[in-house]
Amino acid sequence: MADIDERGAFSRRGLLKAAVTGVTILSAATLLEACGAAPARESGTSGSGGSAAAGTDTGKEIELLRVALPGSLSNLYPGQESGILNYYVAGICMEGLVGVDTSGAIVPALASKVERASPTTYVYTIRDDAKFHDGSPVTADDILHSIEMARDAKVSPSTASYWANLDKATKSGANEITLTSKTADEAFGWIPSNVDALWIAPKAVWEKAKNQIGTAQSPLVGSGPYKVTEFAPDSHVELTRVDTWRGPRPKVAKIRFEFIADDNTRLLAWQANKADMSLNVPLAQARQWEAAPGTRVVYAADRSYAGLTFNVTAKPFDDVHVRKAVAHAINRDAIVKNILHGRGQVATALSTPEQFGGLWTPEQATKELAAIPQYAYDLEQAKKELAQSSVPNGFTASLSYPNTGPHLGTAALAFAADLKKIGITLEVKELPIEQWLAELNTFPPLSYMWYFNTTGDPAELASWFLGEGNPAKYANDGVAATMAKSGAESDPARRAALLVEAQSAQAADVAYLPLWWGQSAIALSSAVGVRDYTSYTLLANWPDHLYAAK
């Protein structure tokens, strides 16, 4: 598997989770806002909500935290059922060799230390103070067996393919495990984490559960701060704080997740004070959530990108004037302000501001990326461009969006009305997420891209979109050369500059038209506070960030 695939696997999963969660709630498809498909996963380091808005910490315990989950879980093991919600639950119960912190950095978990001995060799030192919930110590055998299970397509059908680049996993010392990859890959380091593809359980539990870990009969057993004490598939799951946890004691004693797949039902439940925390609040309903008494909605940029992709080899979008005409006809400010209700940012590039961590703050990045040439909303200009094109009198095109992202549809309808004014008829179609994914692979003349960046690498999307096999069939030697240079550049500042340069060159050709960078939201009752809330928070040991508020 190619390098890009391994990185792809990670983000692929982002979309896959979108798909799975999307399917879970598809029955309510058209009613739903981005909920399923807006995993607030790997947000950048910025937490635009954050503790500033939260109440003050009373220092008290939270006896019971009731969490409304926007989907239904029938199996808790993410290797089996890999919706993003499964990650939120499994992540506080089971650990991987490594984990993630709120800034998105890889941090030690069951491994106390990671060493990259060679580009393809990773050596993990196992910590000796880790205990499973049943009190037994975590051994290298348990971990190797868990890796075996994670690679087994029968036991872990959802994540087994992520391990394709693994050459071998060996016990290289009493407390040491060595993983060797087939090819060198930056993203390989993420795989043995509980935010990607490894959840470590005692060997005995795996064997007892046969292929059925994570069910009500064989509940998860791990080494995390919480253990599963009650699980009714498709209804609820309850986790209780354990004594075996080596880290600081979280303030929340018990967490009960209620599965409420339907957005409206969830809102009703919230309004009736049936939950203390709700994940993935749909943006279209944000105002209703905010209006509920005693409610705080916390937003965080989720490093998602939404934009249009023009197939530059397909008529009529092979004409740059057509692409420019479309670009001028789209009022991105109005879409962000009115359709996203301000919960997003007009996108000026493929890279999101949060991906330049360590170099720029998101605010700085926004400013730098704004330097990339943009097409202002100007229908007169749009008409002029169209007049110069091969289709001066307009044409008809169609644009599909996934049912899990109805705001994409609303936005499309909004700019379809403007396009109509310059003679372009846009047929907006809604597809189930599965069919939408299938359609993307056929390189339609005009398509939406809705993408969740997963790593902190600003080149993540750009290297795909501007590289070989990109969805726009876009080929520009100059851009390709710049991207190649950026790939070889190790200095972050120079690399960023090269990326901006490549994207500026692309902007002149408008193969891609960025529309917005998204945000996602959680709702909290005023009795609960959260600190360091980013979209990474829920993948880390998140109960540790909660506190009883006043």
């Binding site: 598809l26 029955s27 498809a29 058209t30 009613l31 806002e33 957005d263 409206n264 809102l267 749909p282 279209a284 309903q285 105002r287 209703q288 209006a291 009022n331 109005a334 879409i335 009115n338 359709i339 049912n403 109805p406 549809g409 609303t410 499309a412 309808l413 909004a414 379809a416 009305a417 047929e427 907006v428 179609k429 809604e430 597809l431 189930p432 069919q435």
Partner: protein, 279 residues
């Protein structure tokens, strides 16, 4: 429903008049959509959702700033056209297949029976999604699927009615006279099952309206943004906090229209002295 009693049936009941009036209004909206709701599709995304009672927007607007009242009036077209086509289309299938199966019996009857069994056992959602996926999504695709799904019951209905007619002396006389079977079926039997067909047609219109709305509600019917009550109801659910009328108005319209068609159908079937076919 009952056999006509001699007394008191001459008068057209009030509900029938009210139903007819409502349907006439809906029909006018459907036919003269451009005149009655000229601005139904006009967007104002700067305005966005507003509640009812705002000047110029009696029932408020939806997310795209479209006027709910105009949009709902414009929705009359898809509320009437599709259901009518479904009812007529499935009844045409039902009429020809049912008549043939009922009168000729034999292999055609057997095949028609199995066809009905199979379709009735097939999950409707599956068929709708598969066909939509193969042909493309859209209102008329859904209508076509519904025609197929509705046809088995129409086949059974007509078949039953024909079987009931076939042994009657006037049909047997026609046979003895040597009249061709096709002529017996469509010239002699047909006029006598027209009451059942017409009454059932109306009931099917109401049923198709509900079914189409349901599929729109599941995202299988009309394209996004089109004026359609089922779609509006589904989209409007998100706006319940901002403008409940966005969901309430189309919801009420669906119920009222379907009720009106049903009441009219019941009245008509009474009028046409329809035999009650409970099975």
């Amino acid at each position: 429903m009952s056999r006509k009693s001699n007394a008191g049936r001459r008068r057209v009941p009030v509900v029938a008049i009210l139903s007819a009036a409502l349907l006439a209004f809906v029909a006018i909206c459907a036919l003269a959509q451009e005149i009655i709701a000229p601005n139904a599709l006009e967007q104002d995304i700067y305005l966005g959702v507003v509640g009812g009672g705002v000047e110029g927007h009696l029932f408020g607007t939806d997310q795209l700033g479209r006027d709910i009242l105009q949009l709902s009036l414009a929705g009359a077209r898809s509320a009437l056209a599709g259901p009518l086509v479904v009812a007529v289309g499935s009844m045409l299938i039902g009429f020809f297949l049912g008549t043939y199966a009922g009168y000729r019996g034999g292999i055609v009857d057997m095949l028609a029976g199995r066809y009905a069994d199979l379709l009735l056992a097939l999950p409707a959602v599956l068929l709708a999604i598969v066909v939509a996926g193969l042909v493309g999504r859209g209102y008329w695709v859904t209508v076509a699927v519904l025609i197929v799904l509705f046809s088995p019951s129409d086949v059974r209905l007509v078949r039953g009615a024909v079987i009931e007619q076939a042994p009657r002396p006037y049909i047997e006389s026609a046979r003895v006279l040597g009249i061709r079977p096709s002529r017996i079926m469509f010239r002699h039997i047909a006029p006598n099952i027209v009451p059942i067909v017409v009454a059932n047609l109306l009931l099917n219109v109401a049923f198709a309206l509900v079914a189409l709305s349901s599929l729109s509600y599941l995202g299988l019917g009309v394209p996004p943004g089109a004026p359609d009550w089922g779609r509006q109801l589904a989209d409007g659910r998100q706006l319940l906090g901002d403008n409940p009328l966005a969901a309430v108005v189309p919801g009420v319209l669906i119920i009222l229209t379907a009720t009106a068609v049903n009441l009219l159908g019941d009245w008509l079937s009474d009028l046409l002295d329809r035999r009650v076919v409970a099975r």
